[in-house]
Symmetry: C2
Subunit: 324 residues, 2 copies
């Protein structure tokens, strides 16, 4: 079966979800954010994790939808906290409506995510809900750390990796683990898939940091250097600050808080020049490779024939835009 068939099944399931009707101020924003689309990677990973162990993935569809609803809940609340005006090129919920609406609709989405998970077989429910709740807490912890770090002068690389692990990676890991658990996979295999997903998630976020500076603008679809312009403490920026000499440090610090569009080109160029001098691109690529290799190591450890693991492996490679 092709991955696009799973994707179709998933989209069909998502299209059948009913969140509620009244009051419409509460439920309309949920339909709105869920309709914005996105790559639906996390629920797809639930299905792929499930399919490794059993071709019949029907029972994983609603739990997969739960993960997507949860993910969009975090986006709705994060966008308030980050004062983000746009999400996937459209107005964010707190911009289109207001912050109160985004708070409350988000709250209901978290409840809906739990409700969708109630479609798990009863004997698996306690484990699934325990793991989901832990993951949900970790994602909140990651968002809190992200906000704290933005206000802090000094953030170490291990602290940054810890933050993106919580904010981004653990949900990727949980998605695969959930799929495996639903199909009755051995615990060790489910845990290796979780570790695979966590590491892919870290690699993916580092790649996101990298592409912001060194990505193909047309392909990436975002402004090149957006993170630099907004003084974001990315892996690249933190590595550069750690390794910069006095003059390079002065260059970076000197551009701080200058976020006006009119100087964007000059600022991005100046900071990128420091990155280039310090070989930040190569160092980031090495780190990505490190986490990706760790991920594959865990996938290898899953006790299944290689052909059953190829779809998950290929999706991960595709996310990394790599051939092998």
């Amino acid at each position: 079966m092709d991955i696009s068939i799973l994707s179709e099944k998933l989209n069909h399931t998502l299209s059948t979800l009913r969140y509620g009707e009244n009051p419409k101020e509460l439920y309309e924003p949920i339909r709105y954010i869920m309709a914005l689309g996105g790559k639906r990677i996390r629920p797809l990973l639930v299905l792929l994790g499930a399919k490794m162990f059993d071709d019949d993935v029907e029972k994983a569809l609603l739990p997969a939808a739960a993960v997507e609803v949860f993910h969009n809940f975090t986006l709705m609340h994060d966008d308030i906290m980050d004062k983000a005006p746009l999400r996937r090129g459209q107005q964010t919920v707190h911009e289109k409506w207001d912050a109160n609406t985004a708070i409350l609709s988000g709250d209901v989405m978290l409840v809906r995510a739990y409700e969708l998970l109630l479609n798990v077989e009863p004997e698996k429910l306690p484990l699934v809900l325990r793991l989901f709740s832990r993951t949900a807490s970790e994602v909140c912890e990651g968002q809190q750390l992200d906000m704290t770090f933005e206000r802090r002068e000094q953030v170490s690389i291990p602290e940054y990796i810890h933050m993106i692990t919580l904010k981004t990676a653990v949900l990727v890991g949980f998605s695969l683990e959930l799929g495996a658990i639903l199909q009755g996979a051995p615990q060790a295999d489910a845990e290796h898939l979780k570790a695979f997903g966590d590491n892919v998630g870290i690699a993916f976020q580092l790649r996101d940091d990298l592409l912001d500076v060194y990505g193909d603008k047309a392909k990436f679809g975002k402004q090149v250097g957006g993170d630099i312009l907004s003084d974001k403490k990315t892996f690249l920026m933190l590595t550069a600050l750690e390794q910069a000499n006095a003059q390079q440090r002065q260059t970076i610090i000197g551009w701080r808080d200058k976020t006006d569009e009119s100087i964007a080109g000059e600022k991005v160029k100046a900071v990128t020049q420091v990155y280039d001098q310090l070989h930040i691109r190569q160092q980031t690529e090495q780190q990505i490779d490190l986490y990706f290799q760790r991920a594959l190591h865990h996938l290898d450890a899953v006790q299944l024939p290689d052909e059953r693991k190829s779809m998950v492996r290929n999706l991960a490679l595709q996310l990394m835009e790599r051939d092998s």
Copy 2:
């Protein structure tokens, strides 16, 4: 057993809860709001609902705590939306920290509430989580309606009752129902207890509306007429607006948007005079009595000897400050 022994057990359980440690910006506000206290009525009702069917309420303690954590989550988020500066005489979380902190700590509290419910016996878990999730959604719907009504010119009495049912009453009903379910009560009994709680909840909220105007200031602990001063659409205000003649209506409308403390006394006096002319106090008392009688009717229908129902009945009477 005295109700104070249940209360002690509950407080002990609440004092042993561990919400998390790092990052402290996320977990400190949770400890803060949970330490503000309050009457802990909802978790106490879980225990009383449980005790009706089985004297050993140990297994209801953590689920009762779940209800209290959930209730405090709604307070934390509602206070942001209502821009409330104080909660139980102390700074609200969004004032002491900021709105982002209150959003995110609240989110984690909702997750913790679900986690605490995982202590329910596995075979009861799907039902308990389904009912809890429905209740949680309804509470959010009630908060949304409350906000919508405040911005709307006209709100009917049935609409208002519907709003307070969702925002306040259903959680009271769920608390009792949860206690019953945990002890294996027959479904019909659990449903009657739920209906008892819903109706007590409505009566209690109407009484709250009444006491704001006609309460004993010293006893009530709030400024008399606070709702009038802030133009709140309470049961009293909506009933008065429905029944007012042109002149009385003019008096009420004329005082709208005048919320300055310096005119508080004059405004409260003028509006209360209209209430008095229309016998709003007596009408509200009648409504309270109506819902309280409905509640007792459902308690009577629970298939247990009267002595097993007396603690719940007495607490309800006490909440209403009535003798019978």
